[in-house]
Every structure is written in structure tokens, then in C-alpha cells.
């Protein structure tokens, strides 16, 4: 039934319509706003704006914090996924459930919970005071934003990494061990290269939302640390300057495209390895 071209088209239509109306048309609107000024004259000024001092500073801070949290997510997720794929099944379902569980809750609530944990009179400091230890100033610092990003986006790193690690044929690892490779050699030469696509996918899925977030920085940064997402939000809402906001969003999209290109590159090189 599904083989007939007509039926295929029929089933594709809703998605194509959806994508057209809710992805393609808004994107065109954004590009239109991004490339014009108030008098509807074409200009690249909104794009170069991103490289002027206040905006560029916010952009650099966003890229920096997003990179740091992506790397932390990777370092946390990799060992966990190795353990999950290695050990008995019953444990792995429980642990992966624990990781997926936070995804069922609204990320705004999760971030607000972190606010009460990190605050000056928050949970961490109250525990420290109980033991007569000095307070730590965490809220409204870059550290707080990174904690929020890692917490919110870690599941997006774990899932693709887990999938790609569990896809590795156990016999390949056994063969490597059988041919005299030490555990470390097996890891570096077999497991790591085969898991790269998962790692690359996970890094994209963490880096992009971390780069564009404005909620986490607003709640945990106390408005003192401005990420590019906050600047765009401010241009659209407080500034009522959709042209600048759209221009900045387009610049941000360039960075996202670069990131995706890197991922695709990793995916392809992996396929070549397999073909060999």
C-alpha cells in the first residue's frame, strides 16, 4: 500500500505543509527583517552589527560558555555511557531512565530550582553554614550559568552517545583483545573512533541550545551576564527593533551551520572507516 507513489505523497503532504508554514516561511520572514532596515531598504548593517563592541562581547561570551559546557557534558557522559553499555541490562534501564526523567519536566522549572540551590541564602550555602564553612558565591556568575547548561543539556549528550556506543559490535572489541591489544589500546583505536559520530551528534545537540539560550542566563546570571540570546530577546522585545534582532539571529545561525558541518564531517569519515 505504501509503495504507491500517490499514497506516499499523501502521507508526506501534512509534514511538508507543516514544515513550509512553520519552518520555511518564518525563516524567510527572519531573513527579510535581517537584511532590511526601518525603511525596508536592503542593507547588510544588521549583520555587521554582531561584530560591534557590545554585541561582539555577548557573542564571544556565549560561544565560550557553550563550548565549556559542551566539553563538560562530554566528559560526564562518556564514562557513564561506557558503563551503561558494558553492564547488565537491568541497571542500564534504571540509569538511563534517571537521565531522561528531567526531560519530562519543564526546563524553566529545573533552572529555577537551580536558582534556589545556588542563591546566597540557597541550599548549598545553608549546608555550608551548618558546618561552619564559609559561603560560596555561585549565583550570578559564569559558573552558575555553566552548571545550569550542563544540567539542562546533559541528556542530549547521553542519548546519542549511548546509542552509538551500544551499536558497536561486541565481537570487534573481543577481536581487538584477542589480537593482543590492551584495554587502553582497544579503547583508543576501536571504541573511541566508532563512537565519534555519537559524540559529534551529542556535542551539536548540547552546543546549539547552549549557544542560543537566554532563559538560563537570565535566571542564573542575574541579568549581569548577557549572552547573545538575551541580546536578541532584548532587541525584539524591549527595543522593538526586529531588524537588529533578526540580523543577530542570522549571524548566530552561521555559527550553528558551522557546527552542523563539523558533525556531518565526522559522520562521513566514520562511514568511510566502516566501508574499508
Amino acid at each position: 500500500m505504501f509503495k504507491s507513489a500517490g499514497v506516499k505523497t499523501l502521507f508526506m503532504t501534512p509534514f511538508c505543509l507543516w514544515a513550509g508554514i512553520f519552518i520555511f516561511v518564518p525563516l524567510l520572514c527572519m531573513i527579510w527583517y535581517g537584511l532590511t532596515n526601518d525603511d525596508e531598504i536592503f542593507t547588510p548593517a544588521n549583520l555587521t552589527l554582531a561584530f560591534e563592541p557590545p554585541y561582539f562581547k555577548a557573542l564571544l561570551l556565549s560561544i565560550g560558555l557553550a563550548l565549556v559546557s559542551t566539553i563538560i557534558c562530554l566528559l560526564l557522559a562518556y564514562p557513564l555511557c561506557l558503563i551503561l553499555t558494558d553492564k547488565a541490562r537491568d541497571l542500564s534501564t534504571a540509569v538511563s531512565l534517571l537521565f531522561i526523567l528531567p526531560l519530562w519536566m519543564n526546563s524553566l522549572l529545573l533552572t529555577m530550582a537551580w536558582q534556589t540551590i545556588l542563591e546566597k541564602n540557597g541550599i548549598i550555602n545553608q549546608v555550608l553554614r551548618y558546618f561552619n564553612l564559609p559561603d560560596v558565591a555561585l549565583i550570578n556568575t559564569p559558573t552558575a550559568i555553566i552548571i545550569g547548561m550542563v544540567y539542562n543539556f546533559l541528556p542530549y549528550m547521553v542519548l546519542p552517545l549511548y546509542v552509538s556506543l551500544s551499536k558497536i559490535d561486541k565481537r570487534i572489541i573481543e577481536a581487538a583483545r584477542d589480537l593482543g591489544a590492551s584495554y587502553m589500546q582497544t579503547f583508543w583505536k576501536v571504541i573511541l573512533p566508532l563512537s565519534l559520530p555519537g559524540a559529534a551528534g551529542g556535542m551539536t545537540m548540547v552546543f546549539i541550545p547552549a549557544l542560543t539560550t537566554f532563559v538560563i542566563s537570565a535566571l542564573l546570571g542575574g541579568g549581569k551576564l548577557l549572552l547573545i540570546g538575551n541580546v536578541i530577546e532584548q532587541e525584539f522585545i524591549a527595543g522593538y527593533n526586529w531588524h537588529w534582532g533578526a540580523g543577530l539571529s542570522m549571524v548566530l545561525m552561521i555559527f550553528i551551520l558551522i557546527n552542523m558541518a563539523v558533525t556531518i564531517f565526522f559522520d562521513n569519515s566514520h562511514e568511510e572507516v566502516e566501508e574499508k
Binding site: Y55, K120, N241
Partner: protein, 355 residues
């Protein structure tokens, strides 16, 4: 067999479409409605119920959290509203952009009788002939401070620059409200358009940034009640709420001056239910209704009959709840400074925030 199923499906879809149409037609028939677009949580739900009961007019309420989110929705004509409740400078901007219509005060007897003269006079700074707006809430901006932890009496904005309160100060996160404070310290108008003065104000805010704990909007209430900071810049209506929750706090309007803000009811130019809109605004000005809203909100009301109707003595006598408008008669109200100046203010504020 196959064609029968298809036929059944067609009938099903057809009936669904019909009932759908029937519903929407019915909805359009009861056109006795008024579309209200107001600040979030700015009306007691009980008041809306009473209005619907008494007049038979259905209220369809949408809410916004800043003037700036409201403006594009109305200006771009995305949604039609009849009644809106913008702040002072936004009323002026909407008048300037031809988005409002003059009110007919013959249909607003309660507004004429119970809304204080002082407020109409103050409104003239943004609605020069008092043609377009009826004041709903008003207030000032000042410093809320913890009496037990701040030794001096902070009757000057300059206390917000004192090194010893490092990490204990909460500031407002909006361009106009933030720049207002250094401008007032310099003795300038908060509607300043001289760029040199504005840049100086920006530099003062940058200098202050290391000792500020956070730039906040609505969170200021929670943070002060829980004692996160010793002082913060708050609106007088919020101040009353904080004091009722945590009696350690007191509110003071610094001597350099403050923002005398007014949120007013206006009717849009494209309003389809003009008569109902007038009825709604007039209903809000009725003293027994105004007192319900006041108890719910805590923001000062321009309605002169409310103080006598207020039952709670502590609130009735509170100068924070019922400030004497004459004390503030010399104070300024925000004006709309034009699109370019708006952007200039926003850009200066951005420079402070990325620093």
C-alpha cells in the same frame, strides 16, 4: 468494501466540519463582548465575574508582562483589542502612532466623579488634553531596604553606589528605570535627551555594576522577601506587598526625585466594541469595584473614594498604600522620546549589561 469505508470517512469529516462551523457561528452571534488586554494579574477575577453578571458583556482577557511586548501586537494589528492598560510613556507613543481613539467622557460618569484631579493633571504630561486615558493605577519608584541590616536612612539614590553594600543591591532591569536613577542623582530630567548627560549616566551605572547583586524585574519581590539582598529598587505597589510579607522592610522615595508612573485605560482606534469598552472602563472606576481591585493588587489607586472604603486599618493608614499625590506633584512622569531616542536608551543599557 474499500469504497464503503472511504464513504464513511467522508461523512465523518463532513459532519465534523459542519459541527465545527456551527460552533464558530454561534460564537460570533453573541457579539456582546469586550476584548481586554491588560498587565498580567492586574484585575481581580471576581471583578470580571461581577462585570459579566451585571452587564451581560463577556470579557475576553489577554495579558502581557511589559509595555514593549504589548505594543507590537497592537501596532502590527495582529490581534484586535478594545481596551488596553499601558503605562504613561506608552500611552503617548500609541497616541503619536495613531493607535488610540478619544474617549467619550459622557459614558464615563464614574471616571469623572471618582478619579482624582491630581492624576488627570499628571496625565497631561503624556495625554495633553486628557482625551485618551483614564488612570487605573499609579505609584512611585523607591528604595526598599531592610531596617535591621541597613543602618542609615537611604533617602538618597547615592546609597546604591556605596561599596559596603556590595552584592546586597538589586536594580531594575530596564533601560528607562535603570538610567532614571543616575539622571536624578545628576539633577537631570528622567526624560533627558542630551547624549552627553546620558553617557555620563551610563558610566555611573557601569561603575556601580560590580556592587550590584542582580538586575531584576518581577523577581525582586521574592528576592527581598527571602532576604537575598539588603536593598532593592522597587515600585511602590510591590513595596506594600513585600512589607506585608516581611515587616523588616521599609520603603523610601529618595529626595532626588522619582518616577510618578501611571497606568491608564485606553481604547484602541480599531476597537469593535467601543460602547462595551466604555462600560468596562467606567465599571473599573466604580468605588466598590476599585476597592476590590486595590485589595487584590496592592498598587495605589487614583480613585479618591477607595481609602474610605478600605476595611483593613493598617493598610488604610499606610502612606505606602495611600501616598498623598500632592507630595509627588512636582515629580516627573516618563515621556515617549521618539523611536531613535528609545533605541539610544536601549543601546546604552546594553553597554552597561555586557560590561
Amino acid at each position: 468494501m474499500e469504497s464503503k469505508k472511504f464513504f464513511a470517512l467522508c461523512i465523518l469529516i463532513f459532519t465534523l466540519a459542519l459541527t465545527g462551523c456551527g460552533l464558530s457561528a454561534e460564537e460570533e452571534k453573541s457579539d456582546n463582548v469586550v476584548y481586554v488586554y491588560s498587565w498580567g494579574d492586574y484585575l481581580d477575577p471576581e471583578v470580571l465575574e461581577k462585570f459579566e453578571e451585571e452587564t451581560g458583556i463577556r470579557v475576553i482577557l489577554d495579558e502581557y508582562d511589559t509595555n514593549e511586548t504589548m505594543y507590537p501586537r497592537v501596532a502590527e494589528g495582529a490581534v484586535h483589542y478594545d481596551v488596553i492598560c499601558p503605562s504613561d510613556y506608552m500611552v503617548q507613543k500609541m497616541i503619536a502612532n495613531n493607535l488610540l481613539q478619544p474617549l467619550n467622557f459622557d459614558f464615563l460618569p464614574n471616571a469623572k466623579e471618582y478619579i482624582g484631579e491630581d492624576f488627570f493633571r499628571q496625565s497631561q504630561s503624556f495625554d495633553s488634553e486628557n482625551e485618551y486615558s483614564v488612570p487605573y493605577c499609579w505609584g512611585t519608584v523607591g528604595i526598599m531596604y531592610d531596617k535591621t541590616r541597613v543602618e542609615e536612612f537611604p533617602n538618597s539614590w547615592t546609597i546604591l553606589w556605596e561599596e559596603k553594600y556590595k552584592d546586597e543591591i538589586l536594580m531594575q532591569d530596564s533601560a528607562r528605570d535603570a538610567l532614571m536613577i543616575p539622571l536624578k542623582i545628576m539633577g537631570k530630567s528622567m526624560n533627558e535627551t542630551d547624549k552627553t548627560a546620558l553617557k555620563l549616566a551610563r558610566d555611573m551605572l557601569i561603575k556601580q555594576k560590580p556592587i550590584v547583586q542582580a538586575y531584576v524585574v518581577d523577581e525582586v519581590k521574592d528576592k527581598l522577601i527571602s532576604g537575598e539582598a539588603k536593598m532593592g529598587v522597587v515600585f511602590s505597589g510591590e513595596a506594600l506587598m513585600i512589607m506585608l510579607e516581611n515587616p523588616n522592610y521599609d520603603f523610601v522615595v529618595p529626595r532626588e526625585g522619582t518616577n510618578f508612573w501611571i497606568d491608564s485605560w485606553v481604547i484602541t482606534r480599531d476597537a469593535e466594541n467601543v460602547e462595551n469598552a466604555h462600560k468596562f472602563i467606567d465599571f473599573m472606576c466604580r468605588p466598590d469595584i476599585a476597592v476590590i481591585n486595590f485589595d487584590y493588587l496592592g498598587y495605589s489607586t487614583p480613585n479618591i473614594a477607595v481609602q474610605d472604603l478600605e476595611e483593613d486599618e493598617e493598610i488604610r493608614e499606610s502612606p505606602v498604600a495611600f501616598p498623598n499625590p500632592e507630595v509627588y506633584s512636582g515629580q516627573e512622569t516618563y515621556k515617549y522620546l521618539g523611536n531613535d531616542m528609545d533605541r539610544y536608551y536601549n543601546n546604552l543599557w546594553l553597554q552597561v549589561k555586557v560590561e
